[in-house]
Amino acid sequence: MLLNAIETLSHCESISPPDLLVGPAVRSMIMPSLPLSELAKNDPTKNDPALSSRTLVVADVGGPPELANRLQALGFCEGRKMTIVRRGDPAIVEVLGTRIGMSSAISQYVTVRID
């Protein structure tokens, strides 16, 4: 399942191939982070059913300060767990037991890694 996930991630240009050559333990430690908007995209080539139910961890929240604060208050705070409930734009994600509808213009500022 993890390998599946990594393959999914490797579709993204931001990940360099050497990252994928290390062992599983190291892999999870240096698991690359990527914008939530990438994962939430409704793209069939990346639509891995194993991934959609995976728990993600918020790695970083950026964007304009007001938006970042709003996202953090909603629970998109470093270290918090979240899942993608429905892909697309806007996507539906779940954090702190609540589902939140979010357009890609916002989810691009939330960086996540796979738990």
Partner: protein, 676 residues
């Protein structure tokens, strides 16, 4: 964009008459609790210098009278957004005219305790006497979520009362708790202790990871407290049900179909339901005018009372059924959690024209009436987005256009019902298309910027509260009457004056007029004489003269002077054009009641050169004009209220009239050439 300064009565606020502030997350049931505590006696006001609204209502606690303030629902007290900063200033007593609340009632959703505790961490830090209302305790029970109330109260150092605001469960205990905390007999928050809890989160992990991020430590604190107080996480039945519904409701395709069906059903019910009170109001007022007429001597006073005053009040009240039904059903949809989904699925489509998904339901509601539609634009948070939505909403074909469309399509296609209904549908389509194009143009010109991207909580579905719906309906209807009432009455009286004066007498008539009157009188047809008088009166009135004077302006649109008078008299209410034309073409106002016969007689009217007045090109042109022109004063009054200035209302009038003129001009010029 300046904000309006609206006066609010200063609250007394003292130990003898304390203020209790309600605060909580959106969807925590704060408004339901407010309605349950204050009944339907709440009033709505704007905070001085802002468009942010709040509601306040009386709450009697034994011998103590208090005022409850319903603060805006929020996630984060430290946010700099207008609603949040106002809530914070009120809680700290920094808001002019609003004394510092003696007590905070913090509403927490028992089914989402951890999420709600984030706000709790900020509220408790204020070190004000606080009572926690743990709402939706019944729902938590049903879902087998068990919260240790005593433990929660002990950790947070304030009374915690599990309640169910919707069913009214345990509200007496909440009142008692508020009362005893106000009296100082119960322990309030103890300064310092919560702060300590926050600065030293026992789960040290994240604090190191994010290096003192206050948001992270607050979330950790919330997690810690919820771990310590929730004995059972429950079975999440509501969540499962909501997820199952959302499989369809938020699906990109099925969701749209589902939304279409929900809206269709809602609007059919609104149209069907609003018809009865609307008929009743119309009948009641024409009866009142008749009765008043028998008591008053014939003359100006009778005309003022029956046509000006009673007609004006009737014209104001006739909007109420649609405003009320629309808000009632919108409130039910919102309360059930469905409107959040509607905003989600419409966002992708609406964004293309520069409007957020949340503006779709108001735009759709405008097909019933623009007034409630503009008032419901408050769901759009971003001010620019909201302004664009308000400006384009009156372009959607409201129900007041129906009589005008009915007349013109019948004139265009007298014996072809199918073609007539197609023309009818074209008018609706033109309206919505114009609204979307106008939104796009406004976004590209005077209100530039990007549409606020969607970020919306999708609460679990639940049964809506009737009390909330009634409360919102009463509130909006009151707001409409207060804000639009005076303006509409004044303008109705003004238009009555324009259509009544100067009076014509037999002596002031011209020779050809006298001859035609003499012929009519000889025939002994009294009704015809009366119709002739009302026709001549309107023709010679100020409105008639203005219409005649501006006719050259409307001539390129194919309007004769009678239609131009119709444009003048229907300035405040577009449907008036039908009765004006009936009077001016000498058929009398009552002729409009005989639909088909009236249209046929209109179609037969000819100019002096024998050509038809209502030729196809002129009808199309008039139809396009009434699709696009503002011609509704109550809407203007509401635009002023919602945008805070007459500036935008006037802009709306100017751009819509300009658009209507230009489009009608093109229509007439093209149609006249094509048809010839």
């Amino acid at each position: 964009m300046e904000l309006p300064v609206l006066r609010t009565e200063d609250l007394p606020g003292s130990r003898a008459h304390p203020i209790v502030a309600l605060i909580g997350n959106p969807n925590a049931g704060k408004s339901t609790l407010f309605n349950a505590l204050t009944g339907l006696r709440a009033t709505t006001a704007n905070y001085p210098g802002t468009t942010v609204e709040h509601r306040r209502g009386p709450l009697q606690l034994q011998a103590m009278s208090t005022t409850v303030l319903d603060l805006p629902g929020l996630y984060d007290l430290s946010s700099t957004a207008p609603e949040e900063s106002i809530a914070k200033r009120i809680l700290l007593g920094e808001m002019p005219g609003t004394p510092r609340p003696e007590l905070i009632v913090l509403v927490l959703d028992a089914t989402h305790l951890q999420r709600n505790l984030f706000l709790a961490s900020q509220i408790l830090e204020l070190n004000r006497p606080t009572v926690i209302a743990l709402n939706m305790a019944d729902l938590a029970e049903q879902n087998d979520i068990r919260i240790n109330i005593d433990r929660l109260s002990e950790i947070l150092h304030c009374p915690v009362v599990p309640i169910a605001a919707r069913s009214g469960r345990n509200l007496d205990e909440l009142r008692r708790s508020i009362y005893s905390t106000l009296r100082g007999t119960s322990r309030g928050t103890i300064p310092g202790e919560t702060a300590t809890a926050l600065s030293e989160p026992s789960t040290g992990g994240c604090a190191t990871a994010c290096g003192g991020c206050t948001y992270a430590s607050r979330h950790d604190w919330a997690e810690e407290i919820s771990n310590q107080t929730i004995d059972s996480l429950g079975s999440a039945n509501s969540l499962r049900r909501s997820l199952a519904i959302d499989q369809i409701a938020t699906h990109p395709v099925a969701g749209l179909i589902c939304f279409g069906l929900v809206m269709l059903a809602t609007f059919l019910v609104i149209f069907w339901l609003a018809r009865f009170p609307m008929d009743l109001i119309e009948r009641l007022f024409s009866w009142a005018a008749e009765v008043a007429g028998t008591f008053l001597p014939a003359g100006d006073l009778r005309s003022l009372v029956t046509n000006g005053l009673i007609g004006g009040v009737g014209g104001l009240l006739v909007f109420l059924p649609q405003i009320c039904t629309l808000f009632f059903f919108l409130s039910l949809l919102e309360d059930s959690g469905y409107l959040a989904r509607a905003a989600l699925i419409m966002d992708r489509i609406m964004r293309r024209v520069g409007l957020p998904g949340k503006a779709f339901v108001p735009l759709l509601s405008a097909h019933a009436c623009a007034i409630p539609a503009i008032m419901s634009c408050r769901v759009v948070e971003n001010r620019r987005d909201r302004l664009i939505a308000i400006l384009v909403i009156p372009l959607a074909s409201c129900s007041a256009r129906v009589p005008v469309y009915a007349m013109l399509t019948a004139l265009l296609f007298p014996a072809q019902p199918l073609a007539a209904s197609l023309a009818f549908a074209t008018a609706y389509f033109l309206g919505i298309a114009a609204a979307l194009v106008a939104a796009w143009c406004l976004r590209k010109t005077i209100l530039p910027g990007t549409t606020q991207p969607l970020l919306i909580e999708l609460p679990n579905y639940r049964w809506p509260s009737l009390r909330n719906a009634v409360s919102l309906t009463v509130d909006r209807a009151g707001a409409f009457l207060r804000n639009a009432g005076t303006v509409i009455l004044v303008i109705s009286l003004l238009l009555w004056g324009l259509a009544t004066y100067p009076k014509v007498s037999k002596d002031s008539l011209s020779v050809p007029h006298r001859t035609s009157l003499a012929q009519l009188e000889l025939s002994g047809n009294e009704a015809a004489v009366n119709r002739w008088w009302s026709q001549t009166q309107l023709e010679h009135s100020f409105a008639g003269r203005i219409g005649k004077a501006i006719q050259p302006v409307f001539a390129p649109l194919g309007f004769d002077w009678k239609m131009s008078v119709g444009v003048v008299t229907s300035f405040a209410a577009r449907e008036v054009v039908v009765s004006t034309l009936a009077i001016l073409y000498g058929m009398g106002e009552d002729a409009t009641e005989d639909g088909a016969g009236f249209y046929q007689r209109l179609a037969e009217t000819t100019r002096s050169d024998g050509t038809a007045v209502f030729n196809p090109a002129a009808c199309w042109s008039l139809l396009v004009f009434y699709v696009l022109a503002m011609q509704c004063l109550p809407t203007q009054a509401i635009t002023r209220r919602e945008t805070g200035s007459w500036k935008w209302a006037i802009f709306q009038l100017v751009y819509m009239t300009g658009l209507a003129y230009g489009a009608s001009l093109c229509t007439y010029q093209i149609a006249a050439r094509l048809i010839d």
